[in-house]
């Protein structure tokens, strides 16, 4: 393949004017690098805020089976109140907590049925009359516009065994997208079970870090087999908290716990219902709307008449988690300090405020970026204009040996495009380096998306064509004779 002659001519001409070429490219490079760094800082800040907000669960709502608001949170009649729970393991400290236990949750034997047949089903699985939510409900919720994830949950107590060691803990049967919802999770070893494993009802398990430590000490348990209900489960990963606000400890619900696919749990325990469904929305501002959509939808699915109460509860997480922590204290303080009467602020308002401020930020960044690119473009135009007058003689020489107007035009357009594109590419490199340097040295989060890179590249090429066109046309219009006389 042969390059177009005008392109060859343009590169040769640029090499002739090395100094000018270098200076123009540096100008373009700095322009693009600045823009890219600015976008990186902006999106980084935006993402950081969004992440914090999401980690705080502000985009989360939980649909729980049963309606305790009606019943005033009265535990089932057959529940036993235990003031002290002693862990069956020797040498373990007793947990000093008040826990409501269903008789079926007897720590010692009842749940050790190997086969689900012996169990009588949902009503005996601690779900009682509240067994109303199904996998299909979750699937329907997942299809609601604005919903990001909907994760099924069944929660039980269980003995986890490895060799001779046994540990009494919580087991959560959950959908495979649970880690997407638990933003403050990190995996010490391995990872979460996959959607495929969930579909196939595989006996795989993820250990909370507390459980992993009790059973395996400091060893990596991934790939080992533990037993639940005398059934083997292969360990897929170990999860712990990524937030310093939440320290895993014995007795907590997240890390002194094990996770298995909800489907596996349902089939082993012969269950068909769920305890709850955890829902996240794509945007924090959407939580109220989604909650308002879910309620009538579930009422209809559950055939609840107009004057009957819901058989489920929808709770949002906003102010609860804001007050509770897991939000970085500085961010929490900023939010709390700036929003008077936080408790009265609805999640919707808060979400919308955040959305609005991030939109303002994007618009501001976009504005600054546009202005600096226009300035860069005018710089290119200026230099190209200068070089047209400076190079009148060169143009005349080219015209005298037979260059057509069009060929001179193309030469100058190619020159400015090469200048801006090469300058732009260098600028992208510098911009990427600069933003990572900034995020390293000042600990600001930056984020460069492929989109931002593509945009800067496209814009620098467009600037080259747009601002190069006018000088190029001027160049091509120089009369051959006039340019030869030009000294």
């Amino acid at each position: 393949m042969q390059l177009p002659n005008s392109l060859v001519i343009a590169t040769k001409a640029l090499r002739r004017n090395k100094m000018q070429t270098a200076l123009t490219m540096i100008g373009m490079m700095i322009g693009v690098a600045t823009v890219l760094t600015m976008i990186a800082l902006g999106t980084g800040a935006q993402n950081a805020i969004q992440d914090q907000v999401k980690a705080a669960g502000m985009n989360m709502l939980v649909v729980t089976a049963g309606n305790y608001q009606v019943k005033k949170e009265k535990p089932p009649d057959d529940a036993i109140e235990m003031s002290q729970r002693r862990n069956p393991e020797k040498g373990m400290r007793p947990h000093l907590q008040f826990v409501m236990f269903h008789p079926e949750d007897d720590p010692f034997a009842v749940h050790d049925h190997p086969v689900a047949k012996q169990r009588l089903g949902d009503s005996e699985a601690g779900l009682g009359a509240a067994a109303t939510l199904s996998l299909d409900d979750a699937a329907m919720i997942r299809a609601v516009p604005g919903v990001q994830y909907a994760v099924e949950g069944i929660h039980e107590n269980v003995h986890v065994g490895y060799g001779d060691t046994r540990w009494f803990t919580r087991v959560h049967g959950d959908g495979s997208s649970l880690p997407e919802v638990r933003r403050s999770w990190k995996f010490v070893h391995g990872g979460f079970y996959s959607e495929r494993q969930e579909r196939n009802k595989e006996q795989v398990i993820v250990l909370g870090s507390v459980v992993a430590e009790k059973l395996f000490g400091a060893d990596n348990p991934v790939g080992r087999t533990v037993t639940l209900w005398k059934q083997p489960f292969k360990v897929e990963g170990v999860v712990t908290s990524s937030s310093w606000m939440v320290v895993p400890e014995a007795g907590d619900d997240q890390f002194d716990a094990v996770y298995i696919p909800v489907t596996t749990m349902q089939s082993l325990l012969n269950l068909s219902k769920l305890n709850d469904i955890t829902v996240t929305t794509k945007s924090t501002g959407d939580v109220s709307r989604v909650a308002k959509t879910i309620t009538p939808m579930l009422r209809q699915r559950h055939n609840i008449g107009a004057n009957q109460a819901d058989d489920f509860t929808v709770t949002t997480q906003a102010s609860k988690s804001l007050m509770k922590g897991s939000l970085r204290p500085d961010v929490a303080q900023a939010v709390i300090g700036n929003v008077s009467g936080l408790e009265k602020v609805t999640l919707d308002q808060l979400g919308k405020t955040l959305d609005r401020s991030s939109r303002t930020m994007t618009a501001l960044l976009g504005g600054i970026a546009t202005v600096s690119l226009i300035v860069g473009g005018i710089g290119i135009m200026n230099i190209m204009m200068l070089s047209v007058t400076e190079r009148t003689r060169e143009i005349g020489i080219r015209r005298s040996v037979g260059a057509r107007e069009h060929e001179v035009l193309m030469q100058f357009i190619y020159e400015s495009v090469i200048l801006s594109v090469v300058g732009g590419l260098l600028g992208i490199v510098i911009g990427v380096i600069a933003s990572s340097a900034i995020s390293h040295s000042v600990q600001w989060s930056t984020s460069i998306s492929p989109m931002a890179i593509a945009l800067s590249f496209g814009v620098s090429a467009a600037v080259g064509i747009f601002f190069g066109y006018y000088p190029a046309r001027e160049a091509s219009r120089v009369a051959p004779l006039k340019s030869l006389r030009f000294e």
Partner: protein, 248 residues
């Protein structure tokens, strides 16, 4: 035989403010293939004006210009550019080479334009051959500022010859050169005419230089004063041998 150049009633009028300058007043002449025509005349007599029209760098106010039998006085800019590229070779007093560019790349220049799409290797080959023919093959990679005036003018001649033009037009090619270098350039011109049958129109205001041509046309105030064949033609080849120590 049909003339290479044929002009009929060519006029060129410039308007400068209120004034009207008649640079050419009805010129008619023919140049045949293989002729070496010297155009001579005092400053301001219209020599360069004629040469720009002959070289399709400018268009006449009226009259016709046939190049190889085709009327080129009123072609579109693209067509005119092609004529310049393929049929005309220029040599100027000021050399008009691209600065900061090697001799080779200067010579290649005409091949980057025009219809034919020539590969880089072929361009280089043909440019080298042209440089060799003016005795500068060894200096192909020298930049223009590393060459003497005479050498630069030879590069310009090599460039002018690259597309095998119908005519070679030279406007005071020796105006910036010393006498010995001038003779060298004239030697090249005479060799081109003699060995390759190239048609040359040379413009000068010195009789000494005009004397190398086979025919002398003299201008005055935009008119042809006389048009005679040169009986006492000078031969640059012989004169060069009288100079001691010829150095390139």
């Amino acid at each position: 035989m049909e003339p290479v150049i044929s002009v009929r009633n060519l006029t060129k009028t410039y308007h400068v403010g209120e004034h009207q300058v008649n640079a050419l007043r009805s010129i008619s002449m023919d140049v045949h293939k293989g002729e070496f025509v010297s155009v001579i005349g005092p400053s301001g007599s219209g020599k360069s004006t004629l040469m720009h029209i002959l070289g399709c760098l400018d268009q006449p106010t009226s009259g016709q210009y046939f190049l190889d039998g085709r009327d080129v006085s009123r072609l579109s800019d693209d067509d005119i550019s092609l004529v310049r590229n393929e049929q005309i070779g220029f040599v100027f007093q000021g050399f008009n080479l691209l600065t900061r560019t090697s001799a080779l790349e200067n010579v290649e220049l005409p091949l980057l334009y025009g219809k034919s799409n020539i590969s880089a290797a072929e361009r280089k080959k043909r440019a080298m051959a042209a440089l060799d023919s003016v005795g500068l093959g060894a200096r192909y990679d020298h930049h223009t500022n590393q060459l003497s005036g005479g050498q630069q003018q030879r590069v310009a001649i090599a460039r002018a010859l690259l597309n095998n033009p119908s005519i070679l037009l030279a406007d005071e090619p020796t105006g910036n050169l010393d006498s010995k270098t001038s003779i060298e350039v004239m030697d090249i011109f005479q060799a081109l005419q003699r060995d390759r049958g190239i048609t040359i129109v040379l413009i000068t205001h010195e009789m000494d230089v005009a004397a190398y041509g086979s025919r002398i046309v003299s201008f005055k105030d935009g008119n042809i004063l006389s048009d005679v064949s040169n009986e006492s033609r000078r031969h640059a080849g012989g004169e060069l041998q009288e100079f001691p120590a010829v150095v390139n």
